[in-house]
């Protein structure tokens, strides 16, 4: 495993992560984010000082797993309730712009 070490955020990396995050930044914003995120990464690199070989990860502080319930029908939101906050609705569905388009 490689350490976080001297990782830095460039404008290009900001763009790549922004694409994954479905966010957009202009050059000025991207440069400001690059500088701030680089400083934060410098700070978190202090974790490399610790040897964590053989240490189990903790993703959760409660010792619970696979909480199950009987698969029985229960009351749920009505269609009208579910659509009440919809930016656009049509025919009892959420209406969104095209997903697949002709080229």
């Amino acid at each position: 495993m490689s350490g976080a070490g001297s990782d830095t955020f460039t404008r290009e990396r900001v763009r790549k992560v922004a694409l994954l995050s479905r966010l957009e930044f202009d050059d000025t914003e991207a440069d400001a984010f690059a500088a701030q995120l680089s400083r934060i990464l410098d700070y978190v690199a202090k974790l490399d000082e610790l040897n964590t070989e053989g240490v189990e990860p903790t993703s959760h502080s409660l010792a619970l797993s696979n909480v199950l319930r009987p698969d029985e029908p229960r009351p749920s939101l009505s269609n009208a309730q579910a659509l009440a906050n919809a930016p656009e609705a049509e025919a009892q569905c959420f209406r969104v712009p095209p997903i697949i388009q002709e080229l």
Partner: protein
């Protein structure tokens, strides 16, 4: 009895309960007085995002009627405020984000539903840093909140609105949420009591998710007893939250007043470091001495991984946030950017226009920490160090019953002081984050004031589900002092 604004400061939930039960006061009178105080003070403090005056008066009326029919209960007719990331049926729940500006949830959060069933009155929804991401309330998408003790200073965050509302005596209690200190730090900065329960004690159902493995709902109040009353009302197993602990919570109020003689209080050396303002350190040490004077044993100890907790937190919490906040895409609810050609453009522009800078920063950091090639170096490494932080506490609690620390290294800072440097802002949570990482309960209560008149908070941390012991110690200290009686000089 008709109460006027001047009477509101003296009102604690415990006293209100007695006055309502004794017929000296009605919920309607009290609710009107609280609303009048909100109206008088809000222009300067800005604790609320939404004031629900009509709802509150209707609920107060219903509480009085129920009492007339024989109903009883410590929260029946008591006016409270709710942080605006707790879902309230049909009423705004914005998370202080433009992306949820017009959102009206179709259901109540379980904690809200429990308070509703107990007959509480909801005055309104309080301000926060957008999606609870921040330590000063300056990241609110709508307006900042001022600290009632000094209006040029921040109330802390992210639950700054709830802390300020209680400190300014607009209401005797409120709910907040705490992911890395968002209840305890503003409680300290505003001079009130704030309690983060053990992870799993209070259902997270209907709390808008920030970092699901760290978030907990908890109370703000003027006194430890009031915090215990509120915790009792909201705690307990909920099948709607798969991380809700399957336990029957105790009657927390019952442990109050028990002597602390013989209890062992741990002082971790990593929390008494040069970055702590000297007035804060001396007030916290004096508080521990006051407990020692009641017979508690003070034991110096070490939590060696404390210095790494903030780094762990800003990787774990941002990773979880990047996933939780993926749902804000403009498709089903919330803001949607107008007129886009395809769905990807809609997602991207909706999020870019709807989220503020700090939320974007955390989504970016979390997405990066989880991305291919970096997952092991950042996210997995952070989860392993989280284990080391947890083990520090397990070892410490073999020696002591509770741990005492400063809640925050500094008193309330000036508005604008830390906004330009996100890392400096993150470091204001260094003493509260570890309890979230380890899932432990923590409470902040007033333990003094600086020479400039700013409140100082004492933090107590207990083992998981050790709230009774924690409240017992907090109450014993509080009642040996007069700090909780002080109120900010906000002229009406």
């Amino acid at each position: 009895m008709t109460i006027n604004d001047a009477d509101v400061p003296a009102l604690t939930i415990a006293r209100i309960e007695r006055q309502l039960a004794g017929g000296e006061l009605t919920s309607l009178e009290l609710t009107r007085a609280c609303l009048a105080r909100v109206e008088a003070i809000e222009p300067r403090v800005g604790a609320f995002l939404t004031v629900l005056a009509d709802d509150a008066l209707t609920q107060a009326d219903a509480a009085d009627a129920a009492r007339g029919d024989g109903a009883r209960g410590p929260l029946l007719g008591v006016p409270l405020a709710l942080k605006d990331n707790l879902c309230t049926t049909g009423r705004p729940t914005t998370c202080a984000s433009k992306i949820l500006a017009d959102f009206r949830p179709p259901y109540d959060a379980t904690a809200v539903a429990r308070l509703r069933r107990a007959g509480a009155v909801f005055l309104g929804k309080t301000n926060l840093d957008e999606f609870a991401m921040g330590s000063s309330c300056e990241n609110s998408g709508f307006h900042p909140t001022a600290n009632p003790w000094d209006l040029a200073r921040v109330p802390g965050g992210s639950s700054g609105g709830s802390a300020a509302a209680v400190a300014a005596e607009m209401c005797p209690g409120a709910l907040g949420s705490d992911t890395g200190g968002s209840i305890r730090q503003p409680a300290a900065l505003c001079g009130v009591v704030g309690l983060k329960p053990t992870y799993g004690l209070v259902s997270r159902y209907g709390l808008v998710a920030f970092a699901s493995s760290l978030d907990q709902i908890g109370p703000f109040a003027r006194t430890v007893e009031d915090a215990a009353i509120l915790l009792e009302a909201i705690a307990g197993h909920d099948p709607l939250d798969s991380t809700s602990a399957p336990i029957e919570p105790p009657a927390f109020r019952r442990s109050l007043g028990r002597p602390v003689a013989g209890l062992r209080i741990g002082l971790p050396k990593e929390y008494f470091i040069p970055g702590v303002v000297p007035e804060v350190e001396s007030a916290v040490r004096a508080a521990v001495e006051a407990l020692a004077a009641q017979g508690a044993e003070v034991i110096e100890l070490s939590l060696p991984h404390t210095d790494y907790a903030t780094a762990v937190y800003y990787l774990c919490a941002t990773a979880e946030a990047s996933s939780n906040l993926a749902r804000y895409d403009g498709a089903q609810y919330g803001y949607r950017t107008p007129a886009t050609r395809n769905i990807i453009e809609m997602f991207t522009r909706t999020r870019t226009e709807g989220f503020g800078a700090e939320v974007k920063r955390r989504i970016m950091l979390g997405t990066y920490a989880l991305s291919a090639g970096f997952y092991d170096a950042y996210y997995l490494k952070a989860l392993k160090v989280r284990t080391l932080v947890r083990r520090d506490f397990e070892r410490a609690f073999e020696q002591v019953d509770v741990i005492a620390t400063p809640t925050s290294p500094t008193p309330a800072f000036k508005a604008g002081e830390k906004t330009a440097d996100p890392l400096q802002m993150y470091l204001s949570d260094i003493f509260t984050i570890s309890a979230n990482l380890a899932g432990l309960p923590g409470i902040s209560l007033p333990c003094g004031f600086t020479a400039a008149g700013l409140p100082i908070g004492l933090q107590l941390i207990a083992p998981a589900f050790g709230e009774e012991r924690m409240l017992q110690v907090a109450h014993a200290y509080e009642q040996s002092q007069e700090w909780w009686k002080r109120t900010p000089a906000l002229a009406l």
